[in-house]
Symmetry: C2
Subunit: 79 residues, 2 copies
């Protein structure tokens, strides 16, 4: 399972902003809207994929993200 955690739109992203500001000096122009996020890859032992997805979703929302400022999305994928 792959859990993507990204800042909600409108929430300030200092890491992304810093990268974006640094890029032109490093030779990369035309790059904008840089947003940093986190990804967690994990294996869930479950009887079927639907159950695994459901558990991953609960885990993502309750533990891996802060729902006040972040969105978590879950997808099946190799770990």
């Amino acid at each position: 399972m792959i859990v993507d955690v990204s800042l909600r739109p409108g929430i300030a992203d200092p890491e992304g902003a810093t990268i974006e500001r640094a890029l032109p000096a490093l030779g990369f122009t035309g790059v904008r809207a840089v947003r940093a996020g986190k990804t967690f890859r994990l294996v869930i032992d479950a009887p079927d994929e639907a159950t695994a997805l459901e558990r991953a979703r609960a885990l993502a929302e309750r533990l891996l993200s802060n729902p006040v400022i972040e969105d978590a999305t879950v997808r099946a994928g190799e770990s």
Copy 2:
């Protein structure tokens, strides 16, 4: 463009290990092989998608990841 940066196989991942260790006490069992990574979403102004992908790849390898311990993969995707 979406840039995924993950630790290479075999490189210790203290964040993932800490999450994995904490999960049973929090009610999640059967979760293993937790690995933490980073994701960067960005918009690249380029004449076509192939050029944008190429620039994103250069940026990912040179600036967004540490090639000694991390793998970076780039894919097209909404920012």
